[in-house]
């Protein structure tokens, strides 16, 4: 096929990607959107195989078959609770592919300086995406500590790596020989930089990191597109880049922090919240049942703890029992609840909670005072009133779900310890708060048993 015919077909693929993303605007059409996008990808791949440049197919077949098996296996096996880790790994895979592609593109004859620069960008962004994603995976799966790792000269070390990276890139661009030691240096330094960049970011800030890495993987594809003069890579890459940047922005806003603050601060070190003193009022499931039984509106507020306890199915069961009992049931979801954007929504959808019962923070807060019982399941920071009231709190200014305005609040908690970011939560001492101690899944199961009982 002629290059013109191939490029014309790429336009069709690009249109399918665009329609695919457009259909993502509603859960009702999103499945179709994803399918259109996949068809676009299939068309783009198949038409590329007809290109005259491609003369040998056996190795391509090996790569495609191997990649398909690994990808399909991972996609089928992964549990919904581990979705953030899976997305991080897929992201890393895309980044590595851009790095390798950029490197391979250097062999395409005598490249101009512009091409060399775009190749370097592709290697650099791809490398950072790859090693950063692997780090994010390590933190999310708790293979390594999920806490922020901060050391004294960190900023100086990172600045030194960045400067070395720029210097090596410039030196390579001036003399782009394939055996240049600077090429190796750029690859190694970009990998090191990805590790160093994610190191000082704690587990609770992972939604931002994953979004940002997602954006990087798109930008890397974009840079590779410039390097090999391919429109479809530029179009698709920048769509992904835009998606990642928008999500990053939403996540940062939901935490009332700047991107720079998330990336560089090593959260939790700076300020200490005013210690709240008070008495917690525990409640047993029998009494909690009596309150729920007479409630006419109940809101569940899930957090990462629900994912850890795998409690989403029993929560749905309790929700259905409450509805059968005549209560209005909603699920209020904070944008940064969980470890990636929309994490809680996917878990609840998996448990068969209809998506029209999932409400966003802005929608639930104005009517919180009409809610009889708010049930907080494994969430802490996103319902912490200190974010509103205590100027010394590290999370001061972060928008929260105002569960303390509900008539009664149940907080499900394993035991009395402070949450992920180590801030004390005055909600626990609230006049209308009752603590239901124990494993979230067991506590909810006990309530379900009471209802059936």
């Amino acid at each position: 096929m002629s290059p013109i015919a191939i490029n014309a077909t790429y336009i069709v693929a690009a249109a399918l990607f665009i329609f695919g993303l457009k259909y993502m605007s509603s859960p009702a059409t999103a499945v179709r959107g994803n399918r259109l996008s996949a068809i676009g990808m299939f068309i783009a791949v198949v038409v590329t195989l007809f290109s005259q440049e491609i003369v040998q197919f056996q190795w391509i077949a090996v790569g495609v078959v191997l990649g398909s098996i690994i990808g399909a296996f991972a996609a089928q096996k992964v549990a919904m609770t581990s979705m953030p880790e899976m997305v991080a790994l897929f992201n890393g895979s895309g980044g590595l592919s851009s790095l390798l592609l950029g490197w391979a593109a250097l062999y395409g004859g005598d490249p101009s300086t512009f091409i060399v620069v775009t190749i370097l960008l592709s290697i650099l962004i791809g490398g950072v995406t790859f090693s950063g994603s692997i780090m994010a995976w390590g933190k999310l799966s708790e293979v390594m500590t999920s806490a922020a790792i901060v050391f004294g000269a960190q900023r100086i070390v990172n600045a030194a790596i960045l400067i070395a990276l720029v210097v090596c890139s410039v030196l390579f661009a001036m003399d782009p020989s394939l055996t240049s030691p600077y090429l190796v240096a750029v690859i190694v330094l970009s990998l090191v930089f990805g590790v160093m960049a994610v190191l000082p970011i704690g587990g609770a800030d992972m939604p931002v990191v994953i979004s940002l890495l997602n954006s990087y993987s798109g930008l890397a594809a974009c840079a590779a597109g410039f390097a090999i003069h391919n429109n479809i890579l530029i179009v698709a890459g920048s769509l992904v880049g835009a998606a990642g940047i928008i999500l990053t922005n939403i996540m940062c806003k939901a935490m009332n922090r700047s991107l720079a603050n998330v990336l560089f601060s090593g959260f939790g070190a700076a300020k200490t919240a005013t210690k709240v003193e008070g008495e917690v009022k525990p409640i047993v499931s029998e009494d909690a049942y009596l309150i729920l039984e007479s409630a006419s509106s109940v809101t569940f507020v899930p957090g990462y703890g629900m994912a850890v306890a795998q409690a989403q199915h029993v929560v749905r069961e309790l929700g259905e029992l409450l509805e059968a009992n005549g209560a209005e049931v909603t699920y209020a979801i904070h944008p940064v609840a969980g470890r990636m954007p929309g994490h809680m929504n996917v878990l609840l959808a998996e448990a068969n909670v209809p998506y029209d019962q999932l409400v966003e923070m802005e929608d639930i807060n104005p009517r919180m005072s009409n809610v009889d019982v708010a049930v907080v399941i494994g969430a802490n920071d996103v319902v912490n009133p200190a974010a509103r009231e205590d100027e010394n709190s590290p999370i001061y200014g972060m928008p929260i779900i105002n569960v303390d305005e509900a008539r009664t609040v149940f907080v499900l908690k394993r035991s009395m310890s402070s949450g992920f970011s180590g801030v004390d939560n005055p909600l626990f001492f609230g006049e209308n708060t009752r603590m239901l101690f124990g494993d979230a899944k067991q506590s909810i199961s006990a309530l379900v048993a009471e209802f059936k009982g």
Partner: protein, 100 residues
Amino acid sequence: MEAVLLGLVLMLSIFLGFELISKVPATLHTPLMSGANAISGITMVGALAAAGTDVHGLATVLGVAAVTFATINVVGGYMVTNRMLSMFKKKDQPQAGGQR
């Protein structure tokens, strides 16, 4: 001149991306992310060319590795997105898992 045209494509796609993605509801942010991720596997197209041309041994090795990783990204990304999206259901679709 070609660089300028590619730059124009870049600029327009970024604006288009912002318009499209800001309309995606928060409920779908995880599938959006994994779906976008699958699209970023478009590097596969470039990798195919690198793996299939007969220029240099190492270039072929790099290309094949790039094809493999991009395919993981594409196949895994679309499949997992499909798995997630098919779980999202509206209320009272004849009480599928329904109330007892």
